[in-house]
Amino acid sequence: MSAQATAPKSMGAVPQGAGKGRRPGVVVSLRGVQVRYPGTDTPVLSNVHFELYEGESVLFLGPSGSGKSTLALLIAGLVPGAVEAEVSGQVWRHPRLSEPGGIGMVFQDPETQLCMLEVGDELAFGLENLRVPRDQMRERVRAALRERGLPLSLSQPHQHFSGGMKQKLAMACTRVMRPLVMICDEPTANLDPLASRQVFIELARVRQQGQTLLVIEHRFDPLLPFMDRVVLLDHTGRIHRSGPTRQVVAEEWEWMKQVGIVPPWKSPPDADARAASGPAAPFRAHAVRDASGVSPLAARSIDQPPLDGQASDERPRAQEPAAVSISGGRLAYARHVVWDDVNFTIPSGSFTAIVGPNGAGKSSLLQAMMGMVRLDAGELSLLGRPLPAWSRRELVEAAAYCFQNPEFQFIFERVADELANRAVGEDIPEAVRALLAEFGLAGTERKSPFSLSQGQKRRLSVATMLRQPHRLYLLDEPTFGQDAATQAALLRRLRELNQQGATIVITTHDMDLVRTWATQVVVLAEGGVLFCGPPKGLFARPDIMARAHLVDDLRPLAEISPQEEDTGPSASGDPSTHDTVAQGARTPSLLGGGRADKLVRDAAGCPAQEPDARSGRRKPLAARINPAVQLLTCVVSVCIAMAVRSIPQGLGLFAFVLALMMGLAWLSPSQIVKRMSPFLAFYIVYVWTQTAYARVAPGTPTFQILWYHLSWPGFLSGLVLALRMLSAVGLGVYVLSSVDVTETMAAFCQNLRVPPKFAYGLLAGIRYLPLFQDEWTRLRKARQLRGRDAKVGFLRPAVYALPLLSQAVRMAERAALAMEARGFQGDAAATAGGRTYFRQVSLTWRDGAYAVGLNLAIVALLWLLRP
């Protein structure tokens, strides 16, 4: 009832304070601000007082759920509005911030903040929303690329850039709009250490150019020298403290450990910097504090992580076989060798970390140990027995695997069922309750596992894994995206299992974690194993560290060597991209294996090999027609084609379509055959259906097989049908080969006055197709591990539909937010005239003549060939 009463007035209507006594240079002023999201009882931000001055840089720190992102969105003017919320208190924002482009935002997910297909369109998108005249756009876009030192061409598709490159492009996209304030919300959360480093360097550079900067970042050490002020938020959404960076961080370090902003084993940054210069620096005994209170059980036995190399040496295990041993291992996808000649042994009872750059094949290596990825050569033994000798059931009993995305492992719709691995009904077993309590999940029994917070999801997936004891635990980036408190709880639990004799193998990017917890580290890079041994040995080998892109986060940015700043074309050749593409091609998937990806690229008209070819080559006639007109014309043609009633008409129309494809779209006969052949088989079905079921005049001779009455007239009508559909396919191929997706959307806005939010929303959605394909492949692998349960459960939507769909919805929301943050709001989104266009698409009398002429020709043809 109360929600109903307050909702209309809270939406969009930000209480505007009079702002008396505001000091000069203030761009944002918040007084006693409280923010509450609809459907929740507790406010996400309470009693916030904050002022932002022009030219300063501020770092927001807080545990997860402390409202950091909400505060950033509030300052950006996206809360309330783009995101619904009730806001009370005084909010004053500089008038320039409310203009399009007043704020530039960089979000954490590189995939969802780009919304176009090519570099040029991407950079121009914000300018279009600002209504920058078209003749100035090209120059500003080029200047932005130069200023950021990005050697990219404007027509280069950015889909296959590495994550770090995408983030740099996103930063260039905000800078090109010349925002008053730039806000970065965990821009490195999804990146490997080297890419993070590049983003940090970029941030430092932007800062040096005098940009007012707001940063949320949990790996903040390298940023500290560039931040004027730190704001600490607690878990209730109140500001704990705000002040000069160095002073606040030094004085509040203990508090930051307690609330989980930094892991308990971490030393203050200044101390680290000093210590890191000494030779024995990385190896200090750190006191582990029970920061979260999450796991009383775990806290019992482990007060201190082991010093490196000790655990495995302590207990003699000569008689026990190695947990994992791999010799001559090789993995290749199509033409791309991921790794080769991999030899190492993981001793039983060790805590092994696999590290290396993105795309080195760490996850594949871990999956190979579980038999989910088959080696192309070499041998792999698990617990002393060759992998092929294991049955799947034995394997699942002996070893447990934890995916990076915990959602993939959920197959039930309630937390309690998930943990019990069966539908337990209303009486939740005591054992389940106890396990939930141990993992800080008490009270969530009846919730959907998907509705939990990120940290809770991860803890639940680990709890599921621990339901039965295993001898070997394989975890893919278990701490990824988790706050410090969850990380600590998780690692303590793993440590405990380890001490009970289980072998732990994880992949990670976190060198701090490796330093503190691992007894053995395997470095996978450059297509092989560069190092295998105790972490101490690795940290003493800076050469290997550099080759494997392992960056010590504690090193100040000033020490960056030039080659670390990899930029440019090599980014598009990032091995990780080959990895995913090749995987898609190897395993048939929902979208037909690598196909959607290629289709999107084809449809987008992006010749991946020659990025600048578009301007140079002469275009076929069909590509010079306005693309929107082209698409609509062909849809009308398909409608007219329904009138085909006889074989001659069918053949005539098909010949006409062939002529279009060759004459206007310049497709060669072999291209046509290649694209149309898959469909031929399909039409046999139609011919058969008609032959067997067509209504026939009495007395027509029929031919009897089994219970079918086959008739000659039926066969002929089936053939007509097939020809009609073949013509439709031909027209489809003709359209796809002659239009460019981006241009089509621009044409719909410019020429047909479609509201831009529909056209560009469609374009943004199209970008996610290849991502779905990867997700689907990963999901299938995860399901295989659940074995029978998942197979029987295919009828439950939780098994396949929910992880994919909820992921899709979240991605769509993030994408919408990112587009709105780039000024795609109000007129710019609602009316075609509310923005300018980087790509000019003309509509002339020729397009009209083409549309009418083509369809009249088809009508005339059918009339001439009428029966």
Partner: protein
């Protein structure tokens, strides 16, 4: 009023549905070969999954029509054997489903509304089947059976199924910012 997030979610869900349609196209080609058209019609309803799922979540006028057209466009781009004919199906099925939701003034999305719109989408498809896919040459009894079974299939696969999926998705908590959750919140 359509928000940008509604549009992108509609597009993304349409893309997923488009991929499902394409898989269904080929499955239908294999499984339905030689079946009686009345039995073949039982497959039809899944081809307007998007016309039920998207409106059920975002609840805007035009959602059924636009998402069904969008999903058909994706189906076409993914390589549907029906090619541009699929886009035409999208228009007709989407129109049918939209009429169903319009009858409830785009306000109510209970099971009845979902089932009705699914069935009406089936009627829309029957029009195309009659003119384009040879249903006009079926014997009258077969034709009547084809239309009825198509509508029933639509009611179940294009009405009840998307509601079931939408409800399950709602329980995951990822739809909090969409009309489906807003309507639940408004109820006491």
């Amino acid at each position: 009023m359509w928000k940008l997030r509604d549009i992108i979610v509609a597009v993304v869900l349409s893309a997923v549905c488009g991929a499902i349609y394409m898989g269904w196209d080929w499955l239908y080609g294999v499984a339905a070969t030689g079946l009686n058209p009345v039995l073949q019609a039982a497959f039809n309803g899944l081809w307007w999954l998007a016309a039920g799922l998207v409106p059920y979540i975002i609840r805007r006028p035009g959602a059924a029509l636009l998402s069904e057209i969008a999903s058909a466009l994706f189906e076409f781009v993914f390589g549907s054997p029906y090619s541009l004919g699929a886009v035409l199906s999208g228009v007709l099925q989407g129109l049918g489903a939209e009429v169903g939701f319009a009858l409830f003034c785009w306000r109510r999305y209970h099971l009845g509304a979902m089932v009705l719109s699914g069935a009406l989408a089936g009627l829309g498809y029957s029009v195309q089947a009659y003119f384009q896919y040879g249903a006009n040459s079926y014997a009258p009894g077969v034709l009547a059976g084809f239309v009825i079974v198509t509508m029933l299939s639509g009611a179940v696969l294009g009405g009840a199924l998307p509601k079931w999926i939408g409800d399950a998705l709602y329980r995951t908590g990822s739809l909090q910012n969409f009309e489906i959750a807003r309507q639940v919140r408004r109820q006491p």
